[in-house]
Structure formats: structure tokens, C-alpha cells
Symmetry: none
Subunit: 171 residues, 4 copies
DNA sequence: GATGAATGAGTATTCATTCAT
DNA sequence: TATGAATGAATACTCATTCAT
């Protein structure tokens, strides 16, 4: 809390005027970041024409998020005090809201026959997991290193849409 | 450390005969688990005929791992004290070794024309992320709930191989 | 201080316009309560004909005080922060003034041959202690419970005047 | 806790090996002191022939206690953390056990016709209050001052047995 | 004068680490 | 070798006090 207060530019006691304990600070930080992430995603998704285009928007928003929010990410991992209360309930809660956005896109894609029939619950997690791990590298970039967002976006979409298999639909 | 010593059936002081500090205990635990995970995976992978079959083996081994090692997983997440020392370097290190196995399978698949050309670095992370998040639910299963491993395996493989797109090669 | 200010109907900062610190607030509160207690006692004592009647007045005023000033009493016991600054000097100071009133009654009683010769310093404390502890129960009365003031007064006076011994002067 | 640990000659952490929190330290200290006080009193009381002699024993034991346990008394008044949880429940609890001893003596005295009929509950508090306040002075004695225990004992017993009234049984 | 947001010294509690036995 | 009692640095939280408005 000392450090958080210092970074926030207020006193330790001041933190407690707005939050009752560290858990609440944590939740507020996670909640705020997740909400802005989702609203960024939702906005860009709305602009997409096809479901595929929308998925691509989610990817690009996530990449931006990872580029900007490194610090917050570290805080989220350091987490609130004590054991990982069921793996940081707040994080899981926000994750689930994010998964809902993805599921929405999948539903639309299936309706439009852009995507094939599939277990959407799982497919959403599939996409989310792939996205998070692939973009996770952004947290470990050194000063000089480059991260070609456009290329990552392209390749990720390709894998998501066509899978690994040779002779897929793209042929 | 009290709890770790108790579970290990030795004294707290005894722990320090074998490890210099908590970080080392953590690293040993993670290292051991990851190694056995990898060797289980490697063994089963060797039995697979096709690259696809091998990827499927990775999935089934991971599911077993998650079912058996819940406790360890919590420990890994609770982690050593303090902030995510560069996101738990040891975990990342072991992850990278695991990614290497996956990359190996991908290479083979591409060579055999089973899989198409792709950025293997990214594809490995893609597969790994999807696998981890989809199987992460196993950590939150309640006593009574069921987890149909065979079905999960099936669906995951299908998504990995053919992607989301309608009219893929499976048709 | 937050709570005190709130109860006083002014702002926390305002408290510091009238008092320099919490200790002074405490002293003022104790002083005020003690003074009004003493003046109530003194007035009723003046109306008493005999010394015994006057002692009885002290008892009845104290009972009223305890009934009305519970809250204040808790505050006095919670006290200012830290260790009992020589057992709350202010409280002792006010106690001593109260003891003086009792001593005055005893003197009068002895002069009038109502009371026998005795160490008045001690006798005053004797009376005061008995009074405070017996009436202390008032602080712990539950909502429904009854406290028969008249009966308490009667019994206390009887003990004070005649003591425990069988075959005392009342016979 | 820092200070308590220092005085006890152990480390702050060490305190927590034996007590779970400050409240428990407080209770243990009060409990221990009260128990030894009561057992001292009980022992000396057993030696007394008459009920009066027994009451006198209680007085003399209490005087010794006050002389020896000043420090503890200060601690008890500084109390555990927070507000006077219903006036320090533990203290009240121990006080009640002490009152029971006094009541026992009173019962015996009444049975033997040494004492007259009276409300023993109240009489016990009466005696206890008088005793505590009269002997409370011991806490404030300066270095040079004298406290004549025998004289205090004598006078207190006289007041308790015969009361204030002129022409009592002592005549 | 009056306010209440902001401060930071102070305190109870935890837990990785040590060391006498 | 093995133990576990003891340590003390670290940390979340409180609350009397201040001061810009």
C-alpha cells in the first residue's frame, strides 16, 4: 500500500479514504482496466463488418492493451494479499465478461455461416487463451526489441480461422 | 514454509538443509512438476503416429496433469513471496521447454505435409494458450461436477486443426 | 475525534478551534461531567437535614448520573490514547473534588454526633468506592432489566450506617 | 506488543508463539494476576477463625497485591486495543470470581450470626468497592511516602463492621 | 470562523530464515 | 543430520492532527 500510494501520488492514509482495504484497491484497478479493455474492444468490434473482422479487432485491441498496461499487469500478478483466493476471483469475473464478448462474435459468425458449428463456450476460451499467451510476450520485450502488431494480428487470425491442418478451406 | 515442511513430512529447519530459500523450493517444485509433465508428454507423443495424434497426446497428458496437480498449481500461483519476479521466471523457463516439444511436433507435421506452413513459434504459443485456458476450468470443478476429458480432447483437436472457418477441409 | 465531532455536531477541524488536542477534549468532557455531577450533588445535599440524609442524596444523585451518562462513562474509560497517563490524572483530580464533598458531610455528621469519630479521608473513599461499584452495574443493564433505585439507595445507606456486624446500633 | 515483548525479554514474533493476539496476552496477564490474587486470598481466608477475621484477610491480601502489582495494574488499565469492550470483559469476569469469595464469607458470617441479614450480592460489591478505592492510593504513592497497611486494615474493618453511625455495636 | 480531505507516525500481525540443541 | 523455538524485517491499516479552501 505504501508503494501504491506513492505511485498514485497520495498518502497511505489517503488511499483508505477511497478504498477500505487492499483487496478493494486491487479490485478497483482490475475492474477499471478490464472495463476499459472491454469497452475499447466492444467499440472496435462494432465497426467490424464480418465476424472474422470483429475477432481481428479483439486481437488488435488486446495488443494495444498489453503494450500500454504492462505496469498494471504486474500489479495484477502481484495481486492482493494472501493466497490466490480462488485464483483472484475478480480477475476471473472480468475474464468471463470478456469471454462473453467473444462468444457473441462467435454466435454471429455461426449464424452468418462464416464460422462452422462449434462448442462456443470452449471456442471462446480457445481464442482467449491463444490470444493471451501469444500477446503475453509483450510483457517481456526488452527496450530495443520490436513487436510487429500487424504481423501478429495477421498470423493469429489465420491460425484461428483455418487451423493447423494442410489443405484447409483457404486452399 | 511451515505448511510446505508439514506436507513434506519434515521439519521447517530441514527444508533449509536441501534448499537455501523459499525461491529455491518453489523452483524445485515447479521444475519437478514441469519435468514430469514434459516427460509424460514426450513419452505419449512418441507413441503417436501422426503429428495430429501427437498433439492430441499433449492435450490428454495436460488434462491428466491438471486433474492430479491442482494443489501444486495453487502453490505455483500463490508463488514465492512478493511481486511476480519477472512473472515467475522459473515458470516461464519451464513453459518454454514445453513449447519446444510442441514446436517439435509442428515441425514434423509441416515436414510431413500434415500441417501447413506457419510461424511455428507463434503456433506453439497459440496451441499452448488455448490448451491451458480450456483446461483451466478443471481447477474450479466442484466435487460433484464432471469433466469429460475425451470430449474436450476431441473438440480441442477439431478447433486446432480446422479453425473456426466454415467450409474447412473437414467437410 | 471523528466520532466526537460528529456527536458534537461540528466538524473534526472545528474541534481544534476549541481544543488543542484530544487530551484537552477528554479533560473538558470529564471536567464538565464531574462538575455538573458535583453541583447536582451539592444542591441536593444542601436540602438534606441530617448528615445521613445528605449521604443518601449523594447516592441518589450518583444513580441518576450513571443512568444518564453511560455514554460519557464509556468515553472516559476508552479514554485518551495510550497508557493511563498516571491513571487519567483528570479523572483523579475530579474524583478528589467529589471526595471533598463527601468529607464535608462526614465532618458535619461527626460534629453533630450523628456519625462516630473516624478517619474521614478513608471513610470518604470507603463510601465513594462502595457507591461506584454498586452502581456500576447500571452500565451493564440490558434493555428490559430493571434497576430499583430506591431499594439500592435504602440498602446502601443501611450498610454504610450500620456496617455488617450483627447487633449494631440499629437494634 | 513491541514494548511487552521487550519487557518480557523475548522478540515480538515470539509473543505470537504463545498468544494469538494482543487480546489474549491481555487476558492471560489479567487472568494470571487475578488467579494468584484469589488463591492468596482464599488461602489466608481459610486460616481465619471468624468471618470478620476472614474479611480482614481479604483486605490484607489486597493491600499486598496492590503493593506488588503496580506495573501490571497500569497494563490492565492501558488495556487491550480498541474501545473498552464492555469494560474489559475479562476484568469483569475475574472481578465476579473475586466477589464470589467475598459472598462466601458473608454467607458464613450470617449463618454464624456474626453478620446481620443483608443483600449479599450488594454487600459484596460494597466491600469490594470500598477496598479497591481505599487501597487504590497505593498506586500513587511517591517514593518516600509511607502506607501503614496495618492501620488501613484496622480502620477499614471497623468501618465495614460497624458503619458510620454513632452508637453502634462498638460502644 | 468552519470544513473535511489529506497526512504520516504508530501499531498489531505475519512469515522466511536462523541456530542452539 | 534434524529440529522447532525464536527472530525481526516487512506490511496492512488507524487515527490524531493539519491546512487549503
Amino acid at each position: 500500500m505504501d508503494e501504491i500510494a506513492a505511485r498514485a501520488g497520495i498518502s497511505k492514509g489517503g488511499l483508505y479514504l477511497y478504498f477500505n482495504n487492499k483487496e478493494e484497491v486491487f479490485q478497483a484497478a482490475v475492474g477499471y482496466a478490464a472495463e476499459s479493455h472491454r469497452s475499447d474492444a466492444a467499440k472496435k468490434v462494432r465497426e467490424g463488418k464480418s465476424a472474422a473482422e470483429k475477432l481481428r479487432s479483439v486481437i488488435s485491441v488486446h495488443i494495444e492493451f498489453m503494450e500500454e498496461k504492462r505496469k498494471l499487469f504486474y500489479f495484477m500478478m502481484g495481486g492482493s494479499s494472501g493466497p490466490p483466493h480462488v485464483f483472484q476471483e475478480k480477475i476471473m469475473e472480468e475474464r468471463d465478461k470478456f469471454l462473453a464478448i467473444i462468444r457473441g462474435i462467435l454466435e454471429e459468425g455461426i449464424r452468418r455461416k462464416e464460422f462452422r458449428e462449434m462448442d462456443m463456450e470452449m471456442a471462446a476460451k480457445f481464442f482467449f487463451g491463444a490470444l493471451v499467451v501469444v500477446c503475453g510476450d509483450l510483457l517481456f520485450m526488452k527496450e530495443g526489441e520490436e513487436f510487429n502488431a500487424a504481423a501478429v494480428e495477421e498470423k493469429l487470425m489465420d491460425l484461428v480461422l483455418k487451423g493447423f491442418e494442410e489443405g484447409g478451406g483457404s486452399a
